[in-house]
């Protein structure tokens, strides 16, 4: 699965895009976030419970219990501030 980071998530984690392989028990958005938090360090800090983040799966906003699969494009970013 391709993971994309934007804005302060990108700068904090120090990565704009990475590829991960989903274990069989990772089936929801929340599972993916847990998997990333387990990497610890900047990941754990950036994705902590106190952080306000948004998730898009295949370029649509997604909720924590939405399903994910290996081929998805998974993006993590802060609330948007354009306009």
């Amino acid at each position: 699965m391709k993971i994309l980071y934007f804005a302060w998530l990108r700068t904090t984690i120090g990565c704009a895009e990475e590829e991960i392989t989903l274990p069989d028990d990772v089936v929801t958005v929340a599972d993916v976030l847990d998997l990333l938090r387990e990497k610890g360090g900047a990941y754990a800090a950036a994705l902590g419970e106190d952080k306000v983040i948004r998730i898009a799966v295949n370029q649509d906003y997604a909720n924590m219990d939405d399903p994910v699969k290996q081929g998805d494009e998974f993006a993590i970013f802060p609330p948007v501030t354009g306009g």
């Binding site: 934007f6 804005a7 898009a56 370029q59 948007v80 501030t81 354009g82």
Partner: protein
């Protein structure tokens, strides 16, 4: 029509082009957002010397197209134009342009304000502001913007 681009745009030329020749149009409403020279996210205003808009290529175009479609279904619009820039900009430069054309004044006004409110909360753009020392800070999302977008939700109470 939507456009996501790094280059600046000419507000006047865009509006003039939209109205040209369609005599069913009774009113054209437009809104252009510009880079201000002060930061609005802190209590004490700090001078902003530049701003960089990061975006999510692909999702941005998708969301802007969806937003245009929602507006066209909701109001009788003759034409719609949304242009949003990304990249580095200095104070006074254009960031975003929304233009709506309709036979009716109220439809043009409402659709234009709706589009601005919606793209402020749905379109994946993030502002990084630079102060005079060149230090960048990510702009926080404003609750007022969420509230503004929320008012267009027909399922929300009045």
């Amino acid at each position: 029509m939507i456009r996501v681009q790094a280059e600046n745009f000419d507000v006047g030329a865009e509006i003039n082009a939209l109205s040209n020749g369609n005599t069913a149009i009774g009113g054209i409403c437009s809104f252009v957002g510009l880079v201000r020279d002060f930061q609005h996210t802190k209590d004490d205003a700090t001078r902003v010397s530049a701003m960089t808009l990061e975006h999510y290529p692909g999702m941005t175009e998708k969301k802007l197209q969806e937003i245009e479609e929602i507006a066209r279904n909701r109001w009788p619009l003759e034409d719609v134009l949304i242009i949003h820039r990304y990249g580095r900009m200095e104070p006074g430069e254009n960031i975003v342009l929304v233009v709506t054309a309709s036979a009716h004044r109220k439809a043009a006004f409402e659709a234009c304000e709706f589009l601005m409110d919606y793209l402020k909360t749905k379109a994946p753009f993030w502002k990084l502001e630079e102060d005079e020392k060149g230090e960048g800070s990510w702009v926080d999302a404003r609750e007022a913007d969420d509230a503004a977008a929320q008012k267009w939700d027909p399922s929300a109470g009045s």
